[in-house]
Amino acid sequence: MTPYLQQLEKEALEVIREICFSNRLSEIVVFYSIGKDSSVLLHLFKKAFFPFPIPVRFMHIDTGWKFKEMYAFRDKIAKQIDLIVYKNPACLNPYTDGPRYTDVMKTQALKQALEKYNFKIAFGGSRRDEEKSRSKERFVSVRDAENKWNPYNQNPEIPPLYNTFHTDKTSLRIFPLSNWTEVDIWEYIKHEKIEVVPIYFAHERHVVRNQSGLYIATENDTGEIKKVRFRTLGCYPLTGAVLSEAETIDDVINELKQTAYTERITRVIDYDTDFSMEKKKINGYF
């Protein structure tokens, strides 16, 4: 492993162990989105506690609208870890419910799930380079009683001297991959031979082009067949594909080193309003 990647791994392992060893395990959960960052996070959890099993639970906030390849992958992973699947019974539809969909099915669902299981500490695979408000995040990020983030008055942090405490009125979000970039994630996946959902690699698929990008075809509009891959994975009506020939991890890494766009361009939800992510995070989104 290159020294810089080893430094990133060391930093992530340290924060995972420090949080888990200094808090009650029953109040800790790891958010698992089935994506590449979650795959890396899961791998790091296995390494952090080796040779012991992972001592905390994982949770997937389902919307019912993920790619079928993601569900197949999740079911396979569920055999290795203690995985909770939570879905907001409201069951909104991304095609017809507009911006409310993300709020209800993701943000509200996340808060309901935390409350239901009484989790006070939640790990996530978010990275600072993903989005402009995330570039301001802490490794250990405090949320208030309503799970809200206050970006204008964050707890001061000096890694690796993490403040692992919370009170009755606060909870914590932990981001061990804070300093990783998209390319770092793929370099690490390659080095550690981590399995990811196959649609991250180029494949032929029916897609429809609309003003914000290429989306998978529906029953009403079968579109055209293109060779595409997905840079990020989420709900399929909201996740754009990119035209790509990258069939292997090396191809993906080469493609990313040359691409003119960031990965968030393929996510509709980040672009619905200015400072959309900041507002969502303030309201309790991961």
Binding site: P3, R17, R134, P156, I158, N163, T167, Y261
Partner: protein, 365 residues
């Protein structure tokens, strides 16, 4: 790619920190098309320039953009000549000094920007003091807004003033004018940072110290696994047969052959030993003490119940004066003058659990 090099950018509000870092990101090809379009849309453009406001690449919060100030540290990454830079854009505003101080505490070096067109401000001096407090070794002083300076002869005088400020500090530094807007001397900033990174990598390579603070000890099938974090900012490769001292017991720990196949931050000693969370394993001398000469930056007014966290150990503060901290149990430290990485801790309010200060352990003066 070599190791990661962490650089803070600090200085007074409005002197051009975010603009400089934005320019560095832009010049190193680290800004993607969609980020550029977004920054252009948020920038106020004049007729002569079609370029974006470079600060927009850093100031990512809504209020930062409307008020045109940086509130909290932005973390960005770029690669230049095979070196991975992690840049931390600090707020210049006095109210947000806490965010600058926390960034300085974990940085390898600093870019200090000083507006060449204005008198030196109190916050510039304060930031220099904080860089010195955390023993940053290399700093690059950028006299910004060179393009707006009508009378270039002022530069000499400005340089002299800054050299005076740095006279009693233990920095190796370089100082020159730049303009982030026109790009003047931007390549020079990059080459200075590259030199800093190389010198720092050489020093790190020569430094064999390992200070491993224990997070937990677990047993399985009669074997003992010790998990911890090495503060010496590099991954540890525990070699078979290497010996370490355990603090506070002064027992000896010998690394087993199996350790080589364990993940980073985990060692297996050759025989079972008695260690606890908060103990320390090191190959260099540490001080075992509960009385510290200190210099502390408070992020807010300290309450009556304080905890001090250092390494992986949390103790109660029983007495706090301007010069001394006394705790209810010993910590395993070095003075910041000797080993920077093991020379500071954080103060936590026992009731609110907020981090309310950062203290560096200093030699008795």
């Amino acid at each position: 790619m070599k190791r990661i090099f962490k650089v803070i950018c600090c200085g007074n509000v409005d002197d051009g920190k975010s603009t400089l870092l934005g320019r560095l990101l832009f010049e190193t090809g680290s800004i993607k098309q969609d980020q550029l379009e977004e920054a252009l849309a948020s920038s106020i453009k004049t007729e002569e320039t079609a370029q974006p406001d470079f600060a927009m690449f850093l100031d990512g919060l809504a209020m930062e953009r409307t008020k045109k100030i940086t509130v909290d540290v932005a973390h960005r990454y770029f690669t230049y000549n095979q070196i991975r830079f992690h840049v931390l854009d600090c707020p210049g505003h006095e109210e947000y000094t806490k965010n600058m101080a926390t960034a300085a505490a974990c940085a390898d070096s600093a870019l200090i920007v000083v507006d060449a067109t204005r008198p030196i401000r109190a916050q510039t001096i304060r930031h220099i003091e904080i860089c010195a407090m955390f023993r940053l070794k290399q700093v690059c002083i950028c006299l910004t807004k060179y393009d707006l300076l009508a009378d270039k002869s002022i530069l000499k005088q400005k340089e002299e003033e800054i050299r005076n400020l740095l006279k009693d500090k233990d920095f190796s530094y370089t100082i020159f004018p730049i303009s982030a807007v026109t790009g003047y001397n931007i390549p020079k900033v990059l080459s200075v940072l590259e030199n800093f990174a190389e010198q720092s990598a050489d020093t790190a390579e020569k430094n064999q110290a390992i200070i491993f603070h224990i997070q937990a000890m677990k047993q399985l099938d009669g074997k003992c696994y010790i998990y911890g974090k090495n503060l010496m900012n590099r991954p540890i490769d525990f070699a078979e047969g290497e010996t370490f001292t355990i603090y506070p017991t002064h027992q000896e720990l010998t690394v087993s052959a199996e350790s080589a196949s364990l993940p980073l931050g985990c060692i297996q000693p050759t025989e079972s030993i008695d260690v606890n969370t908060g103990d320390c394993v090191a190959n260099c001398p540490l001080l075992i003490t509960n009385k510290f000469s200190h210099q502390t930056i408070f992020f807010e007014e300290p309450g009556n119940h304080l905890l001090l966290k250092h390494g992986t150990k949390v103790v109660r503060v029983v007495q706090l004066t301007d010069t001394q901290i006394q705790t209810d149990a010993p910590l395993f430290i070095n003075n910041i003058e000797d080993i920077k990485e093991n020379g500071f801790g954080i103060l936590i309010d026992e009731i609110t659990k907020k981090t309310i200060g950062c203290c560096v352990f200093t030699r008795n003066s």
